[in-house]
Symmetry: C2
Subunit: 237 residues, 2 copies
């Protein structure tokens, strides 16, 4: 069954976004009385459609029970990458349960956005996360913040790590053992070629522990998936 996030709740109906309505009518070719799931304020509702051909309405039937995610919330700090890789990370990280994504300016990142275009980018990124959330039946959509500098990450609260290409002793297995009763794990992933020595020092100074991810040499867009898969496994009941 398709799942959508609602814009607004009105008594026994939901108001959906225009592009979701388009998707239901034109892409999915839904019919009168077809059922969908609608998510609103972290709750999931079973609904059916009315007046599909004229002025489609989404009527609530009942609220569904939701299984709680069992892993701590994860904030992913990612470098600015080419559009395709960025889209890929956003989609897959959403599938794998990321809670918050913060794009970070790094020395070795080859992408620079013009001031005027950043708003549009953010909108696009949010849309990708919304659609991936719907497809993977999440009850919430990861937040994407505006682009930040490393120094600004000092304020983040949680267990903070950066994926280092030089750290040899502490690996992620070791690092996770040190996380106690923590409600947020914050992991920074570097660009192609990794963070510079200077940047790694900056991260360390604001409380991020350098960790190794093991011996594999991965493409930059594979790393966030690898890390999130591990966290899912580590906190699996």
């Amino acid at each position: 069954m398709q799942r959508y996030f609602a814009k607004q709740k009105m008594e026994n109906q939901f108001l959906l976004q225009e592009d979701d309505l388009y998707h239901m009518k034109t892409v999915m070719r839904m019919n009168e009385q077809d059922k969908i799931q609608v998510v609103y304020e972290n709750k999931v509702y079973l609904c059916h459609l009315k007046n599909v051909k004229t002025n489609m309405q989404v009527e609530i039937e009942t609220e569904l029970k939701v299984t709680e995610d069992c892993i701590p919330k994860v904030t992913l700090l990612i470098p600015l990458l080419k559009e395709q890789k960025m889209d890929f990370i956003l989609q897959k990280a959403t599938e794998l349960g990321v809670d918050q994504i913060i794009p970070i300016e790094t020395e070795r990142s080859i992408i620079k956005y013009e001031k005027g275009k950043i708003e549009k980018k953010l909108e696009r990124w949010q849309k990708i996360c919304k659609e991936a959330s719907e497809q993977s039946y999440r009850v919430n959509i990861p937040t994407i913040t505006k682009i930040h500098k490393i120094e600004e990450m000092k304020a983040l609260q949680g267990s903070k790590f950066i994926c280092s290409t030089t750290e040899k002793n502490k690996n992620i297995r070791f690092a996770l053992k040190s996380v106690h009763n923590c409600d947020r794990i914050i992991i920074a992933v570097g660009p192609e070629g990794g963070f510079s020595m200077n940047e790694e020092k900056k991260w360390n100074q604001i409380g991020f522990t350098s960790i190794s991810l093991g011996n594999r040499i991965m493409r930059v867009e594979t790393v966030p998936l690898y890390v999130l898969s591990i966290l899912n496994f580590y906190y699996m009941e």
Copy 2:
């Protein structure tokens, strides 16, 4: 430094494949005396280039030490998928250390290949794995076999699992505990919509244990990455 797999070794030189030579000359624009790494029979050699402009030769300087992979060998059984998803799985599974990939015919797979085209497909798949192996500095290239039926997997030796969408009790965490001194883990991943009940029964009958991957709902192409990431983590020292 770029890494390539050699076709043949001749005294103090390597013979590389035509498309690798093209890549070195035209894409990487390599020059006289430039260094590359060459892999041959699971060993890695430091080499330099000679006669780049005329008849390029790859001269061996010395053999390099190789860090051994520390996880058991993994065979991945994957359904037939659309080209883009297939390519994606091959590339990422190679990065994450898969040893062998076996494409499997499944009921819900929407892809059917014409007899004459399968050879070409296999060649293409092998090429993707070779290139991903070079990029991730592997000393071997995963094997891809021809397309098989479920029943034919009975002969495989190792700890055998299928990713089930219905199994609720045994998860991958539990399953890995049962793997002892095993040199091969064999994991079958289903198509969009999972294996049919009938297929799951077939797998079970030939020794594959059904396991759950947790509560996340993932796209089919995400699952192999998720599983391989977990195995890397599980066997990390």
